[in-house]
């Protein structure tokens, strides 16, 4: 799949922002006044900024409001509804913390659930697609939610939670990579099933339908990224998990080590998310002889 920068930027930043909101909603840390303003400002900048960057991916954004209507069937619509609900509830909660120096516990708890729910709905947009076997698995929502939760923990200063959480993230990421490498083959879609000609014999592409490229090839038959996949996986794992865990282990707290932990984690998640798209194979590639 084409690793669109706007979508990668959106899912990483908003994931981190909603993760922060989830922790702030349960009063961790129990900030009020000016320091609450700073925490909420960062969380909103990340989540709203991410959402806005996602609209650059749209071909026809003027109809965006209609995207809140189909929550009964569409994960993308659910994501929109959930995001607005989370931002609204947390906005009221934040106003209480900043201006009235009070924490409305019940409201905050609902906001936390909605924030994590938003990340879950984002992940299900990908996980629901049978056409992309690599994504169509329980590890996709687990990884997205874990990254958001523990990235948020790091951002809100819950360093010990973040440290153990990142170890879990590393394991989930490893399972996600290792189980997904053969899934396309395991699901059994081949050029033979795609054309129905397998009963005659082995099928190969003789002539593509067009000499140039097209939307399908650009969007769903992206093949460049896999060349450096192994190296990138190692880099992603080091930056996303190892260095932050090391920094926290060395006692990072409001110092340069904490800054290194945050930046390293962020860059690592970007690398992981880029691979998430670039490595994913869509079954339509079969028709173009580009799979297996």
């Amino acid at each position: 799949m084409h690793p669109a920068p706007s979508v990668i930027l959106f899912s990483v930043l908003s994931g981190l922002g909603f993760g922060m909101l989830a922790w702030l909603g349960i009063g961790k840390p129990p900030v009020t006044g000016m320091s609450a303003f700073i925490f909420f400002f960062v969380a909103y900048a990340l989540s709203v900024g991410g959402l806005l960057s996602a609209t650059f991916h749209l071909g026809n954004p003027k109809n965006s409001l209609k995207a809140f209507s189909q929550w009964q069937t569409s994960w993308l619509s659910r994501e929109g509804c959930c995001a607005i609900a989370a931002l609204t509830v947390m906005g009221i909660y934040a106003a209480g913390a900043i201006f009235l120096e009070t924490h409305w516990m019940f409201l905050g708890a609902i906001g936390s659930i909605l924030s994590i729910g938003t990340v879950f709905t984002t992940s299900m947009i990908y996980a629901q697609l049978k056409t992309v076997p690599r994504w169509n698995h329980w590890t996709t929502p687990l990884l997205f939610v874990a990254l958001s939760t523990f990235g948020g923990a790091l951002m809100t200063g819950q360093v010990i939670v973040a440290m153990y959480g990142f170890v879990a993230v590393g394991l989930i990421q490893l399972v996600a990579w290792l189980t997904s490498d053969n899934r396309f083959t395991e699901r059994g879609s081949t050029l033979e099933t795609a054309t129905g000609l397998g009963s005659i014999g082995k099928v190969r592409m003789f002539e593509p339908p067009h000499t140039g490229t097209n939307y399908l090839l650009k969007e769903m038959v992206y093949v460049i990224g896999r060349k450096h996949a192994i190296k990138l996986r190692v880099i992603a794992m080091l930056l996303m998990v190892f260095i932050p865990v090391l920094m926290i282990g060395m006692g990072a707290k409001h110092d340069i080590k904490a800054v290194i932990a945050v930046l390293s984690h962020l860059v690592g998640v970007f690398a992981s998310r880029w691979l998430f798209f670039a490595e994913a194979e869509h079954v339509v590639g079969l028709y173009y002889g580009k799979r297996g």
Binding site: G59, N60, N63, K66, Q70, T193, T195, L197
Partner: protein, 248 residues
Amino acid sequence: MTALPPISGVKLGLVIDLDTCVGCHACVISCKGWNTENYGAPLSDQDAYGENPSGTFLNRVHSYEVQPEQGAAQTIHFPKSCLHCEDAPCVTVCPTGASYKRAEDGIVLVNEDACIGCGLCAWACPYGARELDKAAGVMKKCTLCVDRIYNENLPEEDREPACVRTCPSGARHFGDLGDANSDVSKLVQERGGIDLMPELGTKPVNKYLPPRPKDTGNEIDILAPLLAPIATETSGFLGWLDRTLEKI
């Protein structure tokens, strides 16, 4: 609404005969022509006369080579457009309700006035039947020529999809696959029509007729034994002529 409607009795669709298709791409061109001038945003081209032309098409013809275990390889031309699936994943993923399946005849359409161009329906489709038009920014797909098949301003023989109307080899058939007695249903029955990627559970309405069995290439012709000389000794008039001509 992006919820799928209850399964309708009428299932309009295409039956494509892979035995008959000659790969001329006339259906591709007639489709592009009709759908650029009629329903919805035109099918745009980018850099049409330049070095890297690309554009939006609702129907494309692939060509494959199939190698049986024995005998010669076969070249099979393979037209592909929306299969108007009964369980259409492209419909349920749409966040705006722009993508929908008609309850009355099962045609899958896009309401371009509600489409945000997110492209998720194209991701959900296994068959590459949907293309986002670069100029209009909205999703385009086969409409089964919904503006022809019910169009009373057209002569009756033209009230079928443009691709079917134009096919010079009669490889494309249009009809109601929900009616077991329709011509298309009988054709599917007789020729063992198949679904594409049945393992994904989309239940396509369109069916493909596999090529009929070919000869194995071991015999030149079934008439070959009859071509062997039947008389080594000539007699009668031809015998006399043969002998006489030998002597000259």
